[in-house]
Symmetry: C2
Subunit: 380 residues, 2 copies
């Protein structure tokens, strides 16, 4: 393999695939990035067996010569060092040449780097997916759906299935669900897709979706998603992002979401968020994060928290609407703040079914997302 | 105590003094911020006994009413929570009232905070310094001198005196020295001060100087420095920063700085820094940080590093001047990069006294700073 490539093109591709490099892999080949060069272009691949990312650099793009391949071939280079050095090469042009026993020479300006390359034949082969089930979604919409749900997955490895987000597609509606048993986030969107296409029970690791979000470009591009037997493939222009589905069956959460409320509240999202943030500061010192919400006589609500050592924070808030029974409820303010951060509506709805029952939080402007938090059972 | 104060003024003062609050103090009163209010203004104080910071808010400044004191008095409030909540108060105006047993009420907008205050009588009294030895220095100049030296102090508690920077003033020249026995940084500046004023052997903790740097405003203000028996006081406008000197006598480092060199080098600072940075990336993987510098036949130098597992980085650099003997030397590239980061001159001078002897690095434009690094003793 012998090629000349623009540093910026190489760097962008390297940064994209680097997210799939495992930092703690015991299999040496997986700590590398595979480079394939042929007469179509240069392909970079990294894989930690759960995620694989492939980035393709065409020889030319928009009249610009990105790369010239003098001799086709492949090599695997040590990722950690390669990712850092590519950023810092002194010249816009980079020459890479693979010699005997995969010894690789990299030249850029006066810099000469000799790297111990590995045999590309040892690198895992990416799965070939049945492309029967394919649908498209705008990149920023997918990012938003991930953001709406991913914080609610569990970090506990004792219930591996709950470290993922449940995906389903039915009648053109794509739906995400995430829960850690104390809270739940759901999000759905109507896609312009073949209504006969449907799947359910697809669970994708929350961590993987976080990495995927970082690779989705800011420009509004369509992403093609291929759902196969045990793998999902995201096609983002020249980047292919493969992930394994999580094994196991996701619990049915539909029944725990109440639809009738004893107390209903509509209020300004930012005012509530700021007030809870202040109460959280005190509750954090107690390490409980418990904040209380109570209806007050004459209308409105009160947000409060207290600490035996430090004192008390309380604040009355005006509300847009308040109907139903009087209420006094306690919850984990960190969980509530996580939800309020992603509510993309000036006003929000909160529904209560009693001091010991789930709290439902929804944006007021649309029905695309719904969040649930279990209250704290306190004695007073 | 009862007062009304602008949130921004209170916040700025709180952020300044917060740097002296100890996060791991076992003495409860030291985890607080003391507030004193009287007819001149409001004073905030924090202390961890090594550092004390006091910030004064005058009632009026530039026609703006900063604070109104309705009733003089004092209280100590829990710092960690107070620092965070002041930032997030909803209204520009904050009311603070101290009641019985130092119970303190804070009102801002609809937010009501009740805090358990502590008795200000228990708070340590700040030292009263003999103001015989006072000199002034521009804030940005002091910041720069700290930056030039503070990275070279040791982090090892086994030689406490070397965790500090040695200060001396002689014939109007203020000089700083820092060393961890592997490297040394010095910096000096001619001040417009009474030439009869002099001191030596004053050692101030590097960590304290780091905190001081953060409090020095970006605007170019003169700082008055009072050097007393065992304390140094920095007066920065309305902020007073007290620090204890470190106990012990600082080693004499003047004799280890060579003045005659076997090889002398002048070259472009950024080119050298970039080349060493690339070589460092590889040496870092070996956990040694060893980088080599060699003169090459026909002029110029070569920077290189190697790793048995990964490979080799090498790069030839043009130099402006090269005189004296041929050379091949190895050093800790991290130490060298620390120095190159603070060299404020386009070209730099490096003097070598042999492969096993100190390396001297100086800016070429002025004689205000000098850095020394001991080379690695390697076998090849």
């Amino acid at each position: 393999m012998k090629l000349t490539i623009l540093r910026n093109e190489l760097n962008e591709a390297v940064q994209n695939v680097s997210k799939a490099v495992s930092s703690r892999s015991t299999i040496p080949i997986l700590s590398g990035i595979k480079i394939d060069a042929n007469d179509r272009g240069v392909t970079l691949t990294a894989s930690d067996t759960d995620i694989s990312i492939q980035s393709f650099i065409p020889l030319e793009r928009a009249e610009q010569q990105n790369a010239t391949v003098h001799r086709s071939g492949s090599v695997v280079l040590p990722a950690k060092f390669f990712v850092e050095i590519v950023k810092k090469l002194p010249n816009e042009e980079v020459n890479i040449e693979v010699g005997e026993r995969f010894q690789t020479m990299i030249h850029s300006g006066a810099t000469e780097i000799q790297l111990v390359g590995l045999d590309p034949e040892e690198f895992p082969v990416l799965p070939t997916l049945q492309e029967d089930q394919v649908f498209s979604i705008a990149g920023d919409l997918l990012k938003s759906m991930i953001r709406q749900t991913v914080f609610a997955v569990t970090t506990s490895e004792s219930t591996p299935i709950l470290t993922g987000v449940l995906w389903s597609l039915q009648d053109g509606v794509l739906k995400f669900v995430a829960t850690d048993r104390h809270r739940l986030g759901t999000c759905k969107v109507q896609l312009d897709t073949d209504p006969s296409l449907s799947f359910s029970g697809v669970v994708i690791s929350g961590k993987t979706l976080g990495e995927l979000s970082k690779v989705i470009p800011d420009q509004n591009t369509l992403i093609d998603i291929v759902v196969a037997d045990s793998q999902v493939l995201f096609k983002l222009g020249n980047v292919m992002f493969f992930t394994r589905m999580l094994d196991g069956s996701y619990p049915d959460t539909s029944k725990i979401i109440p639809t009738n409320f004893k107390t209903e509240l509509v209020l300004h999202t930012k005012s509530l968020s700021d007030a809870i943030d202040r109460a959280y500061l005190l509750s954090r010192e107690e390490k409980t994060n418990i904040v209380r919400l109570s209806t007050v006589e004459g209308g409105g609500i009160e947000i409060s928290s207290s600490s035996s050592e430090l004192g008390r924070v309380q604040e009355q808030l005006d509300v847009t609407e308040l109907t139903g029974e009087e209420l006094r409820i306690a919850f984990n303010s960190k969980y509530m703040l996580d939800v309020l951060k992603v509510i993309d509506s000036e006003q929000l709805f909160i529904g209560f079914t009693g001091a010991m029952s789930p709290i439902i939080i929804k944006p007021r402007d649309h029905e695309n997302s719904l969040h649930l938090i279990l209250p704290y059972r306190t004695t007073n």
